[in-house]
């Protein structure tokens, strides 16, 4: 696992660094531009704020694309004959991709959020970060940890559903052309089934305070099941024609 994690980081660090540099270049150019236009221009403030939120969302979106491509490109390019012939289980391979993707997306979310807040502070002079930290200090620690856990788990589950659509394609439709289109159709069907039959039972939004624990346990178990299914299909059923 450690060797695979090393490989995943080795593969991604240049691209990730490039995206991050690009992000901060745009960020600082516009930050100074907005500042030069007038700090207290309250009419333009919503636009400026939306700009930084969209920029941060772009960073998070890039991390999401990188997470999806991590497996999509691996299964599509000719190097798959090396990667999928490595003497490691598919569970280890998928697991390493999930870990790296989770770290990447978490870092993107943290960097995006902090840079957004800092931009707002710089433009308005208002201590948003201090205000937020005060709010966090007042909140119970277990609720904060649970909220973070659910956020990360939801991200992992969404990524696993995408990975499951790749696994189903490779297992049952690998000989068919228009692989991209078929994978999208599989994904839409999977999402429909999940939204209709699974998410209502594991979503904490629809739960009472008493049943939140149950929903989180259900969501964890469901994520583990989907992980097992993706691993099983890549291990036993997938074909790389």
């Amino acid at each position: 696992m450690i060797r695979l994690l090393k490989f995943e980081f080795q593969k991604k660090w240049k691209m990730s660094l490039g995206v991050l540099l690009g992000y901060f270049l745009i960020y600082f150019v516009f930050l100074f531009k907005f500042k030069a236009e007038g700090t207290f221009n309250i009419e333009r403030m919503p636009f400026q704020l939306v700009f930084f939120i969209l920029l941060a969302s772009g960073l998070f979106f890039a991390a999401g694309i990188s997470a999806i491509n991590s497996l999509r490109v691996e299964a599509k390019n000719s190097s798959r004959d090396l990667y999928f012939a490595l003497p490691l289980t598919a569970y280890t391979k998928i697991g390493s991709k999930l870990i790296v993707s989770t770290v990447e997306a978490t870092l993107a979310a943290v960097i995006g959020t902090i840079s957004c807040i800092k931009a707002l502070e710089y433009l308005t002079g208002f201590g948003v970060m201090k205000f937020l930290f005060q709010g966090l200090q007042d909140a119970p620690l277990d609720e904060v940890i649970l909220a973070l856990y659910v956020q990360i788990l939801a991200g992992v589950l969404m990524l696993l559903i995408i990975y499951l659509s790749f696994a189903i394609f490779r297992s049952f439709f690998s000989q068919v052309r228009l692989g991209g289109l078929i994978t999208i159709i599989i994904y839409i069907i999977l999402m429909y089934l999940n939204v209709r039959y699974v998410f209502p039972f594991i979503s904490i939004d629809t739960m009472t305070t008493q049943s939140i624990g149950l929903a989180v346990a259900g969501m964890t178990a469901y994520t583990v099941i989907i992980f097992g299914l993706v691993g099983y299909l890549f291990e036993k059923r997938a074909s790389f024609d």
């Binding site: 000719s78 798959r80 004959d81 490595l86 490691l88 000989q175 068919v176 059923r237 074909s239 790389f240």
Partner: protein
């Protein structure tokens, strides 16, 4: 000693039978030529044996039961198209093989590429087709495996690199391993193979020892190939 036995192997794509009741045995200590024109089923067989493709039915029996990780450790497959990561340097790809394949012999690769006049800091992308071809053969043969499946190693390779690859492959055979080389470039391989298997439309058309076939048919394997496939 048998390295691998294939019994009643079938592989069906949507409208095509790629392998049809395919039966064969590969013995250790031999270089086996898997010959046939394009589309005869050579690559399909190799990909199934290496675990990259699922069979439709049939049995694949190694000298012991091998599945998953163990299978992938014992079988070293080299595809026609480069399997190497283009973004890696030569040094990184050697390190990658060393990290993941138990018993990988780094020195063997370094010796094999020593005459290529390439820097280990060069990226795979920057290598010529011949250099890449030799590197991938060297990397595959430096693995500690029992069955080596080498798919079309000379495709698109210049004559000098071809000779180097053939020398590399011929020098590798020992009693504990079997090397299967697929190709339709029979003339090039004839001098290094011990046994030959001719495949036609997913079936074994003819199988035998190279020397026996040569003396029985009174022709070279190259001529025999033309004889076997002349109506295809």
């Amino acid at each position: 000693m048998i390295a691998l036995e294939v019994k009643n192997l079938h592989k069906r794509y949507m409208f095509v039978k790629a392998l049809d009741d395919f039966n064969v045995t590969f013995d250790k200590g031999k270089v086996i030529g898997l010959l046939g024109p394009n589309g005869s089923g050579k690559t399909t067989l190799m990909r199934i044996l290496s675990g990259l493709l699922q069979k439709s039915s049939g049995e694949i029996i190694y000298d012991k039961v091998l599945k998953g990780k163990a299978l992938k450790q014992k079988v070293a497959y080299m595809p026609t198209e480069s399997q190497l990561y283009n973004w890696m340097t030569v040094n990184q790809i050697i390190g990658f093989y060393e990290d993941f394949f138990e018993g990988f012999d780094r020195q063997k690769v370094l010796d094999a590429i020593a005459v290529l006049d390439l820097k280990t800091s060069s990226t795979i992308k920057s290598l010529s087709t011949g250099q890449r071809g030799r590197l991938k053969v060297a990397l595959t043969m430096a693995r500690k495996a029992e069955l080596y499946l080498i798919d079309e190693p000379l495709n698109g390779i210049d004559p000098i690199s071809r000779d180097m690859i053939l020398e590399l492959l011929a020098g590798e055979i020992t009693d504990d391993k079997c090397i299967v080389i697929s190709s339709h470039l029979v003339h090039e391989f004839e001098r290094i193979i011990d046994e030959v298997i001719f495949i036609r439309k997913g079936k074994v058309e003819l199988k035998g020892h190279v020397e026996t076939l040569r003396s029985e048919r009174e022709m070279s394997i190259h001529d025999l190939y033309k004889e076997v496939y002349k109506y295809d």
